[in-house]
Symmetry: C2
Subunit: 341 residues, 2 copies
């Protein structure tokens, strides 16, 4: 039976939502796996006691420290060895758990995953991807989104190779398409880094390690041309944060506009409500909760991070993602792919 370590203290809604998600998933999955809930027991226990946990494969493990969202990653990892974050990853390292999920400080989890679990053999730099909105049921993952800057061509190619394996094995996309994010479509466009990466991606394609569709541009990301959009972490991080700011920006124009229309008698309140709901729904493709989180790819273990705002539903999705990655042997396949590098 698989054992998943869950950071009870990670995220803006922790520990409540984490506890809720954990209890729900064990019922839903009929105790298919065991969950080790890690956190400050004086905080977690009373909340846990409000739930009926009778017969659930659930253990609470005490960790006195907490890595806060505001902590500086490298420092937190060194000074908070007894945090739920570091303890959870150590349980993976010691094979007492098969995977770890947290909705806490992403930078700290990346640093701790790298520090505690280490890299898979052959992996130069572990990475983290993000989901971008799509109108169909496939995925658009942009990689890297901030874990790695000053990337070299061989790093970018490995990101694409790892994500190809992940999407194929764990997300059931038969042939994930990789695009290189650049300022133009032509092969000779863009910075030196991307010209070299272009050639390495062609090579990787010819070896069957991924399916390269060439350069793509910023306006291609939402057009579903590629499943995997490769870029340096500076570009990916900027795009991700810019994209995340758009719903609120547009809402701040549309909502007052509807109110004015109602106030002026041009629109009845009921219709305005309906239009408002339809408006909110256009951002459903931006909802990352269905995925729950993203794995750190390239670390020697399963470490999945969720958005700070994660709900109980997101926590559940993350745990299922951990289970799925383990069952599908994603890490083993990554190690095999890089065995010759």
């Amino acid at each position: 039976m698989l054992t998943i370590a869950v950071d009870a203290m990670g995220g803006d809604n922790a520990p409540e939502c984490v506890i809720e998600g954990t209890v729900q998933i064990l019922r839903e999955a009929e105790n298919r796996f065991e969950i080790l809930l890690i956190g400050q027991s004086e905080k977690v226990r009373p909340l846990l006691d409000r739930h009926d946990t009778e017969g659930l494969n659930l253990q609470l493990l005490h960790a006195p420290e907490v890595v806060e969202m505001t902590d500086v990653p490298a420092i937190a990892v060194k000074t908070k060895q007894n945090s739920s974050l570091v303890r959870g990853l150590q349980l993976c390292k010691e094979k007492q758990a098969d995977g770890f999920v947290s909705a806490g400080n992403t930078g700290a989890q990346m640093a701790a995953s790298l520090f505690v679990l280490g890299r898979l053999p052959g992996v130069l730099r572990p990475t983290i991807a993000a989901y971008f909105p799509r109108l169909d049921e496939e995925l658009t993952n942009v990689v890297d989104v901030g874990a790695n800057v000053d990337c070299k061509p061989e790093h970018l190619v490995q990101f694409a190779e790892m994500l190809t394996i992940y999407q194929r094995d764990a997300a059931d996309i038969e042939k994930p398409l990789t695009g290189l994010l650049n300022i133009g479509e032509e092969e000779n466009k863009g910075p030196e880094l991307l010209k070299q990466t272009y050639r390495l991606l062609q090579e990787a394609d010819s070896k069957g390690k991924l399916s390269f569709i060439g350069n793509i541009e910023g306006n291609d990301i939402l057009s579903m041309k590629a499943n995997i959009v490769v870029c340096d972490g500076l570009v990916g991080n900027t795009m991700l944060k810019f994209g995340e700011s758009i719903p609120a920006f547009l809402g701040s124009i549309f909502k007052p506009s509807l109110k004015k229309l109602v106030a002026s008698g041009k629109l009845d309140p009921a219709s305005a409500d309906i239009a408002g709901t339809a408006f909110r729904e256009i951002f459903l493709p931006f909802d990352v909760e269905k995925f729950g989180g993203v794995p750190f790819l390239g670390v020697d273990g399963i470490s999945i991070v969720g958005h700070g705002r994660s709900s109980s539903r997101a926590v559940k999705s993350m745990i299922y993602m951990a289970e799925h990655m383990i069952e599908k042997n994603v890490n083993q396949h990554i190690a095999e792919a890089f065995a010759d590098e």
Copy 2:
């Protein structure tokens, strides 16, 4: 009297919209300046003859070649010396015109501006900025948006300095604020390029050349923190194109959604129309037509490029922008600022 050379052949709606904008602006500005309309006279003349140009300071100059949107910039500039683009810039170089505007191939105009006009003394690399949406009347300009990749720290700082002069002189922003686009706010964040740029921007600030507010992130662009957002052309170009793709993406969800609501009887057609109009209006801050175009900053002359989709209104805005930049001595101020570098 100022003389503005206008590329009659540049843009998706050329020459019609260019002719229209030119005739309109001369009437509107009461012949305050003279316009040299440059293009294939066999195409432009018949269209021009449909307008009443009696008494307008307007000359049509024949240029047999046209740089197409699909032309490769470096090649077009060399092989199409008799194009409206190259001829227009040559008129500036020869002091027969004080400025040039075009809504044609941006890359070709950048290359031709650099080739024909050359750089202002002290300028390392001319640049091009873009307008990002704002909820107030000020500006957010992201610079560079694709003219320069593989930038060095001193390039990025010059971009910010030039745009500071432009915004202060030509856009009446008293103290334009510059933010460095990075993956985090802390000084030591991000790639080596940006760490070094951070220090140079601090120096430039202490010399009074710009007002540096530190690192900003992708989600700060729409928040109006900075008037000038500095980044390498790869990042700016990607952001710009990504942003431009968002209205259509969201519209493709909202419009069918309204239709469904009408079909199911939940919303009456008139209310749906009103909601649809309100929805389209949320993208008004994305409308760059009011600015018309952007100047190539750092070239030794006035060269303004508009969006390929430019309307006659945009053409007018570009011509006014050229007039304004000349009157405000923007280029002279840039040359003075860099005289000691």
